[in-house]
């Protein structure tokens, strides 16, 4: 689960990680109220959306005085921000963070993340922070220090030394850093983060570190032990169909194509999407109804898929293992009758009791297209959309 910058900074404050003074605002009045509590201008106004690249897209603006704040906050609030990470449809800005502009001496990059290959927590630090960090990382990898921390042992003094000497922090200002890194590490593990990123982490004119930005991604699998963090979920940042699917315990991701997909199992679902593409069409979604699908789940899956107006056909691909094909077929027939499926429905079923399942589908009188295997399904998808 991603959270907003202002929420991440709230967590930072809880761990005494220095962040600029400021507050979040959903309206212009609120933005002005926040500004009035701060010592003075210039301030910075930052659009709060779950995507990077805000600066270049016009979602981050400075304000030298109250008048400028009013004009710029007004413009950002309610704008649809399009960045390389939002996709072409962009994201509606519903909140801005108003904070004290920082006195930037140096810009650094600092992040903690989990490393799959080594099963460890990795600290990434860069002496060149700021915008276009992905590009810098790709073109100048020597500008980054990567320190692996064994999760059983945790952060050790030598890890901290590697980061600080690697970043070239002047020895006379090093004192504040060990506590900062230790706090970040504690924040990471205590909240089950997948990523904590500060870009830029600046050194102020006075020589102190300050987290000007904050990005946190939390582990969905660990949210059960962080009830407090659940309040950070922002449904406005999610596709409404995906939110609805999650309530049904369905794994659904909306895509831009027109062939709806329903599959049991994530790997087979991805492979089925690929088959659709190969057949010359585009998948409208990813939908994994789970390994132990029930008739009810199938029905809810259809309802979700059909809520997408782009869908002009549906491919159901179920490999019945524990779930018997006859049970599934009954589910499909019931769902088709209830939902009133108005688009062609192509069904490929395999596995336990497949013959009985096929008979139920054939006897249903529904206008179903059936495929005997995946190769057949691919050919019929092409026909269906032609």
């Amino acid at each position: 689960m991603k959270i907003h910058e202002y929420q991440a900074k709230e967590l930072f404050r809880r761990y005494a990680i220095p962040v600029p003074e400021g507050g979040v605002a959903a309206t212009l009045d609120e933005a002005l109220a926040v500004a009035d509590t701060l010592p003075g201008y210039p301030l910075v106004i930052k659009a709060q959306i779950h995507a990077g690249g805000r600066g270049r897209a016009g979602g981050v603006k400075f304000a030298a005085n109250r008048d400028e704040l009013q004009r710029r906050a007004c413009k950002i609030l309610g704008m649809t921000l399009v960045t390389p990470q939002t996709g072409p449809e962009g994201r509606l800005v519903q909140r801005v963070l108003v904070e004290q502009a920082a006195d930037i001496g140096r810009e650094l990059y600092l992040s903690l993340l989990t490393d799959r290959a080594t099963a460890s927590i990795v600290i990434m630090a860069g002496s060149a922070g700021g915008m276009d960090i992905e590009k810098t990382a790709a073109t100048m990898p020597d500008k980054f220090i990567k320190v692996q921390v064994n999760p059983l042992q945790g952060l050790q003094p030598h890890h901290i030394r590697q980061v600080l000497f690697g970043l070239g922090i002047p020895p006379d200002t090093m004192k504040q850093w060990p506590a900062l890194l230790a706090a970040l590490y504690r924040l990471f593990v205590e909240n089950d983060c997948l990523l904590v990123e500060i870009n830029p982490l600046i050194i102020t004119g006075a020589g102190s570190p300050l987290a000007v930005d904050a990005k946190i991604e939390l582990d969905d699998n660990a949210l059960f032990r962080h009830a407090d963090l659940l309040t950070y979920r922002d449904l406005h940042e999610e596709d409404p169909l995906e939110t609805r699917a999650r309530e049904y315990n369905l794994n659904y991701i909306r895509l831009s194509g027109n062939v709806g997909v329903m599959v049991n199992g994530a790997g087979l679902a991805m492979a089925t999407m690929d088959i659709i593409k190969k057949a010359g069409a585009e998948p409208a979604n990813f939908l994994d109804v789970g390994g132990g699908t029930t008739a009810e789940m199938v029905e809810k899956g259809f309802a979700i898929i059909l809520s997408d107006q782009n869908v002009t056909g549906i491919l159901v691909n179920i490999f019945g293992g524990i779930l018997r094909c006859d049970v599934l077929a009954r589910g499909i027939v019931e769902a088709a009758n209830k939902c009133g499926i108005s688009v062609p429905l192509l069904i490929r079923m395999e596995g336990t009791n497949v013959e009985q399942g096929r008979k139920i589908l054939a006897d249903s009188g529904l206008p179903l297209i059936t495929a005997v295997d995946l190769a057949d399904a691919a050919a019929k998808v092409a026909e269906m959309v032609a």
């Binding site: 990470q85 989990t114 799959r116 290959a117 099963a119 460890s120 927590i121 992905e134 064994n150 999760p151 059983l152 593990v189 089950d192 997948l194 582990d219 969905d220 699998n221 660990a222 059960f224 032990r225 794994n251 991701i253 895509l255 599959v263 049991n264 199992g265 994530a266 790997g267 087979l268 679902a269 991805m270 492979a271 999407m273 690929d274 088959i275 659709i276 593409k277 190969k278 585009e282 998948p283 990813f286 994994d288 390994g291 490999f319 019945g320 293992g321 524990i322 395999e350 596995g351 336990t352 295997d373 995946l374 190769a375 057949d376 399904a377 691919a378």
Partner: protein, 292 residues
């Protein structure tokens, strides 16, 4: 012959009294797996399908000489269950549980390096050596015993699809392993390919990958340097959008890495026989494996 599980496997089921544990215990018993004990704290002294239930893994191992454990414990308690089994001297742990917090898995992975225990999973369908032992949730009937092909995959039903196609082509399997869909797995593609390479009965392998991470790329390099048997490769997720977790916690393309295209290219470079058409994977394997 087979790898990791066979007729000498003496299995315990942790979480045997839960709905899933109960159901799959029955299924595995019906397949012929030697399940010798179950473990559920507080349910010691009871039975499930005639199998004695103990309060601790240590007690179950002491009484039944179990050497393998299959775990259905809920995600919040699964990491503890894995470590309990390792501490009790269980040599092979198969963790079916999906949804374990990643930091728990990281710690478990490092903890197990201090032991002799192998972990398969988590978030996996388990392992089957057809005709000998099924320690997992896969449908046993789609497998063909007495074969010579090993299958290793990050997925569940996609593996069933692959195995089913192999069986329909008359290609039997030595062992089929689902290593799991999480970002970090106890057993890697490389571990399995190395074991298949050593296994005299295995003449070729099928490796089924998906987007996310670099396990397929790493395995491709390993194959090039260490594997003499033919390996067929398949990768799911060519159409997956970047930055989204595709059902599996580990199936995500991030920052341009972990793409299906990249994995397919790496497999080709490593000398794997890549099949891009899942519908014809069985025929493709027949062609490749009959040449050798």
């Amino acid at each position: 012959m087979s790898i990791f599980v066979d007729q000498s496997t003496r299995l315990i089921v942790q979480g045997i009294t839960g709905r899933e544990g109960r159901f799959h215990t029955r299924q595995c018993l019906d397949y012929g797996t030697k399940i010798v004990a179950g473990v559920t704290p507080g349910k010691g002294g009871t039975e499930v399908s005639g199998i004695p239930v103990f309060n601790t893994v240590r007690e179950a191992v002491a009484r039944t000489e179990a050497n393998t454990s299959m775990i259905f414990v809920p995600p919040a308690f699964a990491a503890d269950a894995i470590c309990e089994a390792a501490d009790a001297g269980v040599q092979l742990i198969i963790c079916i549980t999906e949804g374990i917090p990643l930091l728990d898995v990281l710690k478990v992975k490092h903890y197990l390096t201090l032991t002799q225990t192998r972990l398969i999973g988590p978030n996996c369908p388990g392992i089957i050596s057809p005709g000998l032992c099924k320690a997992g949730i896969m449908p046993g009937a789609i497998h063909l015993p007495g074969g010579s092909i090993g299958v290793v995959s990050r997925s569940g039903t996609l593996t069933y699809e692959v195995v089913h196609q192999l069986t329909r082509q008359g290609i039997g399997q030595t062992t089929c392993i689902g290593i799991g869909g999480d970002p970090v797995a106890g057993t890697s593609f490389i571990d399995c390919l190395a074991a298949f390479e050593r296994d005299a009965a295995t003449r070729g392998m099928v490796m089924v990958g998906e987007i996310g991470g670099s396990a397929e790329e790493d395995a491709a390099v390993y194959v090039q340097q260490n594997v003499t048997k033919p390996v067929v490769g398949f990768v799911a997720g060519l159409t997956a959008p970047p930055g989204r977790r595709m059902g599996h916690a580990g199936a995500i393309v991030s920052g341009g890495s972990g793409t299906a295209q990249g994995k397919i290219a790496a497999m080709r470079a490593g000398g794997l026989h890549v099949c891009e058409d899942l519908g014809r994977l069985g025929e493709f394997c027949k062609e490749i494996f009959s040449q050798t």
